[in-house]
């Protein structure tokens, strides 16, 4: 691994064809159906998906709490799937923190270092450093039960960071916190990752969390990786219907491909107007698929003219910075349109009005599966 040039970052964790089946091989529950992915050194990598998609199972396999049914797991080039958890240089931040209740904050954070037989003086030094890093220095002598949820969260973080693991695994660590704290912790986690240079593997079902913190995201569903990429990639260029639907909000229209022009295709929308859409995957004329258009890429206009779709406003929902309009097209399809909220009196369209919908150029995307 040493011969690699700095421009190609090292692979921290390499997952190859990992399958996990609970129960008998032919009749059990497939939690992971052949997952392969590479996580780079010093990366903030997120496993994102709905509950039951296999993201936590994959994390627990990396930690060593679960075994693979088949496939292999490499950590910096070494095969580790036969090592017990206590022999793997990775540490975990647990969802419910799992702090040792009978130990002080300091003893919790020192636990890993003491097991690694670091000298006492060094342990004390490192514990102080780590507690300062998460701004809990003054709470060293407290017990977990005497701390707030947010503070316990930071103790869990400090405890996992103190042994300076090669990879830090985080299992939905923010899910027990309230919204404000969660937002603050996102920023804190991201900067902690940058400061320490440790590879973070973060599991969440919260797409907003994933989008704000991650260098790259793997979207998972039903035990399979649906798409891997940077936040922008995944949001702007979802590879399939699941990803488009799961990440953010989108409008999906059933379409048939009419014409292929290189990277773009022409499809016919409900109502008969054609739309040009970027194609993901191989598209051929006559193929069935979905066109995905994000609500914020649509705008309400007067009906007729260059409007791509026409319908009646059913409802307008005020969301603070945005308004969301629900529009019933003539053939019954429901479309969501987002517009920046303006003063109530200035809103040009009201529920019951007939409106046209304009599609921003390049916003439509054809998804074949």
């Amino acid at each position: 691994m040493t011969s690699q040039s700095p421009s190609t970052p090292r692979t921290a964790v390499d997952i190859r064809d990992v399958e996990k089946i609970y129960g008998p091989r032919d009749a059990g529950v497939r939690a992971l159906a052949g997952v392969s992915l590479s996580i780079l050194d010093n990366e903030f990598f997120t496993l994102l998906g709905p509950s039951g998609c296999g993201k936590t199972t994959l994390l627990r396999i990396i930690a060593g709490f679960e075994t693979v049914s088949s496939g292999s797991v490499f950590l910096f080039g070494d095969e580790i799937e036969d090592l017990p958890p206590n022999r793997r240089p990775v540490n975990t931040v647990f969802q419910q923190y799992a702090l040792f209740p009978h130990m002080t904050v300091e003893e919790n954070v020192a636990f890993g270092l003491l097991r690694l037989k670091h000298p006492k003086a060094e342990v004390a030094e490192r514990v102080r450093e780590t507690l300062d890093l998460v701004r809990l220095g003054e709470f060293a002598q407290r017990r977990p039960a005497q701390l707030s949820g947010g503070q316990q969260q930071r103790v869990a973080l400090a405890r996992a960071l103190a042994p300076r693991p090669k990879v830090l695994l985080l299992d939905e660590p923010l899910s027990a916190l309230d919204l404000k704290l969660r937002q603050a912790m996102r920023v804190e986690l991201k900067s902690l990752q940058e400061e320490t240079g440790i590879t973070f593997i973060f599991v969440t079902h919260d797409q907003e969390e994933a989008l704000t913190m991650s260098d790259r995201i793997a979207v998972m569903s039903r035990g399979e990786v649906q798409q891997i990429g940077a936040a922008r990639d995944i949001y702007d260029r979802p590879r399939n219907r699941f990803v488009a639907d799961f990440i953010g909000e989108t409008n999906l229209f059933d379409v048939t491909v009419e014409q292929v022009n290189g990277d773009t295709v022409v499809c016919r929308l409900p109502g008969g107007r054609p739309v040009e859409a970027a194609a993901s995957g191989v598209a051929a004329a006559g193929k069935q698929g979905h066109v995905s258009i994000r609500p914020e890429q649509l705008a309400l206009v007067k009906p007729g003219g260059d409007a791509a779709l026409e319908g009646v406003i059913d409802r307008t929902i005020y969301l603070g910075t945005d308004n969301q309009h629900l529009i019933h097209l003539d053939d019954g399809v429901e479309v969501r349109v987002r517009s920046q909220s303006v003063e109530q009196d200035a809103e040009p369209f009201a529920p019951g009005d007939r409106v046209g919908i304009r599609i921003n150029r390049g916003a439509a995307r054809l998804l074949v599966d």
Partner: protein
């Protein structure tokens, strides 16, 4: 509760408190009369004079305690020296009960852990299996144990039949027999509280410990045992206390020379040879010892809780 108890608070909450106290009254009265009463009665009896055919004469006397602690010779006219007879019985009882408690812990902890880690719907079945022998009368069980371990019992006969032994191992009428009997009598009292503690234990703590490089032994010592300590302490008390006062197992399995507190006290209340005040005094000495132990334990707990602040 006497008439207008000045609550000073809200009339509704005052009325509520009154109702609550009345509802608690049956429990308070029962505890006062039937739990505290006999203890107080024994405390009083221990300071009375014995009557020859059993019973007491209402004359204040320290004779029972004097008999317990001091030896004044056959006719009671020599200068007092410390008497070790009874203290030796107490010491032996403490050792026997202690060994029985330890046995219960060593066998009961893995049992409780095993049950608590079974799938939820099978735990009740396992717990029921553990308690099944205890639906049989203690006397019957102790007698069966005697048959099992005596020189011509199945254990010795089989070991001889299979050529493991030439002569039977002496088990009956030994300290071991008493410890075994006590262990068998009180094992569920160890299993149940530990089970309750392990069942509440958060197994992600074990994962966290392994994640932080601890091997299984270290995890047991530093994480699991401290977390279930209250259950272990409860189990030990529940086994140790009745073992200390037990008389069935020592009588039936220990033979004449393995006398324990329970038998000593039992004898004082049996027939014409009894001495009620002395029996009461023996019980009071035991109670005092336990209270002193509890006092020191509570003080130490309070100190370690303070240190945790």
């Amino acid at each position: 509760m006497a008439g207008g108890a000045a609550t000073g608070g809200h009339s509704v909450s005052g009325a509520y408190a009154a109702v609550r106290n009345w509802l608690l009254a049956p429990s308070w009265i029962t505890i006062a009369i039937f739990m505290l009463g006999p203890v107080l009665l024994m405390a009083v009896y221990s300071f009375l004079t014995k009557e020859f055919r059993g019973g007491v004469i209402w004359d204040f006397s320290l004779a029972s305690y004097d008999q317990f602690f001091f030896d004044r010779g056959l006719f009671g006219d020599e200068p007092p020296t410390l008497r070790w007879t009874y203290m030796a019985i107490y010491l032996r009882s403490i050792i026997q009960a202690g060994v029985a408690t330890l046995l219960c812990l060593v066998i009961g902890f893995p049992t409780a852990y095993f049950i608590a880690t079974r799938p939820v719907h099978t735990r009740t079945i396992w717990l029921f299996l553990v308690t099944i022998p205890y639906w049989v009368n203690l006397l019957i069980r102790t007698v069966s144990m005697k048959f099992l371990i005596r020189d011509t019992g199945p254990i010795n006969e089989w070991l001889i039949a299979f050529g493991v032994l030439d002569t039977p191992i002496k088990m009956i009428n030994t300290d071991f027999a008493v410890q075994l009997g006590l262990f068998y009598s009180y094992l569920p009292f160890m299993v149940l509280p530990i089970y309750a503690a392990v069942e509440r234990y958060d197994f992600s703590l074990t994962e966290a410990s392994a994640d932080l490089y601890a091997d299984r032994w270290t995890t047991l010592r530093l994480v699991l045992l401290p977390a279930v300590k209250p259950g272990i302490i409860a189990g030990c008390i529940l086994v140790f206390v009745p073992s200390l006062g037990a008389f069935l197992a020592p009588d039936l399995l220990g033979g004449a020379k393995n006398f324990m507190i329970g038998s000593l006290i039992e004898e004082q209340f049996k027939g014409a040879a009894g001495n009620w005040p002395f029996g009461a005094a023996c019980a009071m000495v035991l109670l005092t010892m336990v209270l002193i132990a509890v006092f020191f334990y509570a003080r130490q707990q309070a100190r370690s809780a303070e240190a945790g602040q």
